[in-house]
Amino acid sequence: MTDPQTPFSKSEMMIVAAARELAGQHVCFVGVGLPNIAVNLAKRTVAPDLELVYEAGVFGARPARLPLSIGDPTIVTGATAVVSMLELFGYYLQRGLIDVGFLGAAQIDRFGNINTTVIGPYEHPKTRLPGSGGACEIAINARQVFVIMRQSKRSFVETIDFRTSPGNLGGAEQAERIRREGGWLGRGPTVVVTDLGIYHFDESGEMRLDSLHPGATVEQVRETIGWDVAIAPDLGATPPPTSAELSLIREDLDPGGVYTK
């Protein structure tokens, strides 16, 4: 049950909302950072049968603690299978066995195209970011992609500086054609969860605010997005985190508050 007396942070709301979106999903490719905690929360709540896949080469992880990195030894002990990265990316991801790929981003545009490479020009970057890692092939080969990130005018931008991972390209029509002709198995981004709300993608392939988190306002949403964002006419309200969800995050998953401050 929801306990309205328990205060929660924006990050906690974001993690809880992302975890709930995983209800009904079966095989999830887990990324570093926020996706890691959201997926591990989903496994303990709405999706107990979720198979956790880590790019380091683990299928069916049963981490006993929140993995400190995506290669933590706790994802190995008790797992269904440990495989080489060649097998993980080849047999599991490229073969089409991943239902949801969970990504973060430094920049995202209205069509869900993602930049994690550079801010500024590539040759002389203002800020050098981590790069693709596995994100590029996850965006192409996972059946669908969930994105979790805090929103700001710097991160939700009209034009991303570098396209590391393809989303709905220039719109749904173009993306569907290219995905079909190119034999991509994935249908691209379907969900974006931020600290303010939950977005899905409309028929034109554009991000649309479908649910507003408690305490957030449409004005805040507009102020932190670099384009005129679409808002669902029947805009929903995200139910606040339950005390059970909060205690799982605070006591089990992130007792140090690394991700949830």
Partner: protein, 299 residues
Amino acid sequence: MHDAVADLVRDGDCVAIEGFTHLISFAAGHEIIRQRKRDLTLARLTPDVIYDQMIAAGVARKLVFSWLGNPGVGGLGAIRRRIEGDIPGEPLEVEEYSHFGMVGRYTAGAMNLPFFPLRSYFETDLPVANPLIRPIRSPYGDETIYAVPPLRPDVTIVHAQRASAGGDTQVWGLLGCQKEAAFAADRLIVVVEELVDEAVIRADPNRTIIPGLIVDAVVVEPWGAHPSYVQGAYDRDNRFYLDWDPITRDEAATQAWLRDWVYDLDGRPAYIEKLGTKRVASLRPGLAPSGLVDYGAYG
């Protein structure tokens, strides 16, 4: 370690110290720094703290990678400063792929193939940033996918749980691309926690990922992967990764760290002693032994 690095790592080499968060030979990286190797091309999926330290020490002119960061913590300041041009005398050339691309490159190198084909890079800026990522038409249909070139390091260095004196090497836990990087290399150094009798290897041949056939040197270096980890032997020292963050943000602090923890020490035993027995002991995991399988005796 001193002799293996002195004999097998040469200025100008392409060097791959692999290990995906697991089994990263920090000991070899530090020895390369101490021996002041120069103009290396450093290849690794995730440069991690070890390449941040090596690049800060000036051993490299080029970095080949797919994800640049301090995993689970933040950025790698020493590398970033050189890419962003903040250290004018030491520009760093970069050649960047995705994880699958890097794994494919080692695989093509290991299998003596001219390229590795993969379903990635479509509609991204990566092939623009790196023209070595090229589209390739299927000889059996209309499909166009992407290819990456083989990566054949002059030297690959991998850490592992155990090996025989002959170099037959066994690993458990995350395998990363240790095997592919090893077979791709011209010269191969294996660093292990423990040297075991050949009979131990032969009792469990499925666990052997590298045969002595391709190994040029076996170095026994307990704790040689700290602050990364060795499945079953010690945990990742997360405090180290967190502590590295403020150090790497500051060039002077980075150089001071290199002096205190690399140049002023003569090897891994001194490093572990400096780390302290209490710290080291806290990294020992509990027990979770595998079940035994029966290979059967035939003839």
